[in-house]
């Protein structure tokens, strides 16, 4: 299974994701944002960083990168797509996930380990976990405060599309949301960084189950 990791100018977590995917037995390759095609990949990760410098708004310019048309097509065909941190912001700006991420409630850049509860296993990111699992995974963001219109929140809740919640909400996100999925459950965005929780030396291995889930989804997804 090959995971395509999209590299924008300003991405800075792409190699971490590549390493983490290899750690759980997958293949990974970096895909340049200016390429209009994804190539032969079975899943897509949009990694963290500051795509296009986060100019205007995080993700506002990245959504127009040539690769994003291919990512949208891949997602529409049921392929697993995961946006981590800045990648989550890109996916919301691109309209592949609802809502938006605004500045943290406390106006602080947050860089620490967060505890997350798995709220559903019906997503490409969490299929291998169990509902109620508490995962310790780092967050590293200034604009991670998830917000959406009330009707969108109601839909996310009633359709079981809140994938991860913070146990101790660090950033003001509505309903403690740390990650959500689309209606097809194959596109997931989350602010925490599972690729940084992949070894004892990093302080946690709780990200591995999420990465394994993505690989399993890649294996199961329509080619």
């Amino acid at each position: 299974m090959t995971v395509g990791v999209v590299l924008f100018p300003g991405s800075n977590c792409e190699h971490d994701v590549v390493e983490a995917v290899r750690l759980v037995g997958g293949e990974a390759e970096i895909v340049w944002h200016g390429d209009p095609k994804l190539g032969d990949v079975d899943a897509v990760v949009i990694p963290g960083g500051f795509a296009h410098g986060d100019y205007l708004r995080p993700g506002a310019i990245a959504r127009f990168s040539p690769i994003m048309g291919a990512v949208a097509d891949f997602a529409a065909a049921g392929g697993p797509v995961v946006g981590i941190c800045n990648g989550f912001q890109v996916l919301t700006e691109a309209g592949l996930l609802p809502g938006a991420l605004q500045k943290n409630r406390g106006l602080k850049f947050l860089c620490k380990t967060a505890e997350l509860r798995v709220e559903t296993t019906n997503s490409v990111l969490t299929a291998e976990a169990s509902v109620g699992d508490v995962l310790r995974i780092p967050i590293n963001h200034f604009e991670g405060n998830y917000t959406c219109p009330p009707e969108t929140l109601a839909a996310l809740q009633s359709e079981d599309r809140i994938v991860l919640r913070y146990l101790d909400n660090p950033n003001g996100s509505v309903d403690d949301i740390a990650g959500i999925c689309n209606e097809g459950r194959n596109v997931v965005g989350l602010m925490p960084h599972p690729e940084r929780a992949t070894g004892d030396l990093l302080g946690s291995t709780d990200g591995l189950v999420l990465l394994r889930s993505v690989l399993a989804a890649a294996a199961a997804a329509p080619a």
């Binding site: 708004r57 919301t92 700006e93 938006a100 605004q102 500045k103 943290n104 405060n145 917000t147």
Partner: protein, 86 residues
């Protein structure tokens, strides 16, 4: 015709504005009392070509909808005036 454009981007009503709230809390400490409703946004200035004001405005509105604002959380106020000829 050329138009000078000012787009003021603000957070939509009901969207929490942590920057505005922090500024509002800081003002009394500096002796400025009675300030309320502080909202922080951004302003974009540029010039645009258009057959007439309505056409130019329609184009700026589309820019706002597709790129300059995130309609989920932001509103835009657009001001146009004909540029002085260079």
């Amino acid at each position: 015709m050329r138009f000078a454009v000012l787009v003021e981007v603000s957070l939509r009503e009901g969207i929490a504005d942590p920057q505005g709230a922090t500024i509002e809390r800081a003002l009394p400490a500096l002796g400025f009392h009675g300030v309320s409703g502080v909202r922080v946004g951004k302003a974009l200035r540029f010039e645009v070509e258009g057959a007439d004001e309505a056409t130019a405005r329609a184009e700026v509105e589309e820019m706002c909808a597709r790129f300059l604002t995130n309609p989920v959380i932001e509103d835009a106020t657009i001001s146009l005036r004909e540029s002085a000829s260079v």
